[in-house]
Symmetry: D2
Subunit: 255 residues, 4 copies
């Protein structure tokens, strides 16, 4: 059996989703029900910590792994504070670290991310750091105790696809940790491409939330992720330069 | 409901497969059973017309649409003869026309293909012509009575992917007939990409037959084709140059 | 010496330019003077056949090869008429055949183009047909007496680049005639890419005429075309998957 | 005039070359003479510091800027030592920092590179750090006193091209320092592509040294770099989806 284990939890579904940007957040529950998505990330700053009525958490099914993220954090310290708040508020001990101080492309700061990872892993969190694809940073995150690494495919929310393929391919090859491609994936074919390279999972938010029909798009991503995973396991044949006939060419008509 | 109707037959599965190059042809039945593939193409020259024991047809489930192809034909006349032989031998009235006289890249000859299509459509065949992607040829095939058009993604058997995307995109936009991408598709992500463009179906042979695990790869393609179709219907959001935060950036920590 | 001979004329410069879309047509002379461009195409319908004062021909230096084109022709017959008019008007005996009846993508009609080529080659024209990249059409144009073939890189005027690379590569490999990539090339890097594949020349119009500084852009294209040609001749080294150090790695510091 | 100034020196030629991997090192002088290349990098470990007869430095023309590099260094300290040795040996005060501890892809270690840059800039070196493309590292190198930044296009020596385009584009947009694309560029078209994005220069070694004709390939790169630079300055027109006729379509034949 093909299992993905993160933080001791066995996951069957390799599509993770984000909860931002939905015009109608009640769709999240439907999507989870239909696709079997098991991990949903939510920005802690969108959580009403006072437990009021209006709360994004109400829309996330209880049997999902809640993956609070530290979006809004500009350095390790802020990320650490947000993670602790999340745990204290009952959001569990998983955390996706996002440390960003670039307002235009929202690229992650690897060094601050490593610092936060080290502290939070030490405190028992299951830490999934969002990162800029870089081999040294990936190795450092491994040493810091990350449970997986989450390199970006393209800047957040751009739907541009797996533009960092050259380096993501190397991370998958060289790292022990599961590699989860996060950010930038705009179409199911691109999610499948990441999985065919050997990614462990893909996280998608914008491409689902901003589709004309988000629930249908979520299904599409879920299937594409499975398709890509199976293709990886099934060992694709090689690519050739010249054509190869599907059947022998010695024509029976000519005899 | 999202239906594909070809030759009056309603198809639910948009992955068509080829039967060539399998190391073990008994896999074909398993693949059809698992994936729900409904159309299987077979080179008539591989069919034992004497009905002997060794026969590729024995491996193709009876409830599939059999799509005999004219591979080996070098001109319209040969293709027409093969199609008639196929029908006479009980292979039904569907035919995939392949007319090829290029031995290196096995590229199809559009003009001979158009001629054969005209004759066979007239004779009541459901004609699916394999073609080089070209808008005028596509229009001519429509006029000739084709039931769908099958432009190549890359030369047969190369697993190179949807290299003709620029023109296939135009065919989909400008033609009334279903566009089925045939040849060259090497990975499920590429099949999904074709479907996201609006292709009606994808035909895959080499990429499945030469995978380490052909049955698993067939499943992967089947899911990817469904994923791509759903993505097309779900109306993807736009691609942007700059990042867009998944959640508002005004940080709660700063307050 | 690396010579390109077309219609008996030896050309030194492998950049051909078009004369349409210039905001200021007097730039054409400057561009030719600076770059050494030797072939300029002009739509005959833009030529004032009454020899009036306002005439695009006035802007094309006399020592250039004038390449009248049949743009506006919707079938072979119209193309033939335009070509004859051009020759009668003193535009010489070169002609670029364009036969287009698709108003959206302006894709060329290969069959009508082949017909016109056959007639005009017979009449002594040096015929350069604009074509949709297709191996059979290319071979037929060879037999019809074309002096070169001009496959498109992308639809006219789109600046989209060498999107038909997969097939253009095959045309270059399989055809005897010079292959001149025409239409769609938007940037010098794309012109260089075509030349690196082995194209004999590149024709550029929109990308030069619509640049902020057309004369500078023409220079850029001229250099890129030369660069690509030299790279082709210099036999590029192979592409590898893994890194190879530029110098041996046994570190002198470690001794 | 379009000037590139690095370390107070005005450069006219935006192609930098490396001196490794040449089968015949005497070619380096010919290349410099023909192309006008002004900056040549050499691994200090290949320099015979005892001034013996066999010395790579003998092959580098005196009027070039010598850019010793620290290849072989595995951390900042080693890079600093090599740089100091180079200066002491009379190699001038420019240095290209390479800090690499990944033996398979030879990817640079950004953090160690930043450390070395800070120390050497402080000591008066003109520091050009080879880096993994990452916005935060680029900004840090700016603060550390780098004279330019040198992000990789693909792993060293692979000839794979500008695979990191998505991020290099952002570095060019967001950084004050000149961005010099270094490593992985395999063909002149790829060098032109980097320059069209706005890169300040390109460094090429393997693609020149391993070509069948290195001197001709160097010329090709030199021209391509100029072409790309001019294209960048000339402001390319936009890319469109649909075709735009090069000349108005209202046919004169129809009147």
């Amino acid at each position: 059996m093909d299992k993905l284990i993160i933080g001791g939890k066995e996951l069957k579904n390799r599509l993770f989703i984000g909860s931002g940007k939905f015009a109608d957040e009640s769709l999240i529950g439907d999507i989870v029900a239909q696709t079997g998505v098991e991990v949903v990330t939510v920005a802690l700053r969108r959580v009403n910590l006072n437990g009021g009525k209006e709360n994004i958490l109400n829309y996330i099914p209880k049997d999902c792994v809640l993956l609070p993220n530290t979006s809004g954090a500009r350095n390790a310290e802020e990320a650490v504070r947000i993670a602790r708040l999340a745990r204290a508020a009952g959001c569990g001990n998983w955390v996706k670290i996002e440390v960003i101080s670039d307002n235009k492309y929202l690229l992650p700061d690897n060094n601050e991310t490593i610092k936060a990872t080290r502290i939070l892993a030490e405190e028992g969190f299951v830490v999934l750091p969002y990162m800029h694809p870089d081999l040294y940073a990936a190795k450092e995150l491994e040493r810091a105790g990350a449970a997986a690494i989450m390199p970006l495919g393209a800047p957040i929310g751009t739907n541009r696809g797996l533009k960092t393929k050259e380096i993501v391919r190397i991370l998958i090859e060289e790292c022990e940790l599961p590699v989860i491609v996060d950010a930038g994936i705009g179409k199911p074919s691109e999610a499948a491409e990441a999985m065919e390279l050997g990614a462990a999972a893909v996280l998608v938010n914008t491409a689902i939330a901003t589709a004309g029909n988000p629930a249908m798009m979520a299904n599409a991503f879920s299937q594409a992720v499975q398709a890509g995973r199976q293709a990886f396991l099934a060992q694709p044949g090689e690519t050739t330069e010249f054509a190869r006939a599907s059947s022998p060419l010695t024509g029976f008509l000519r005899s």
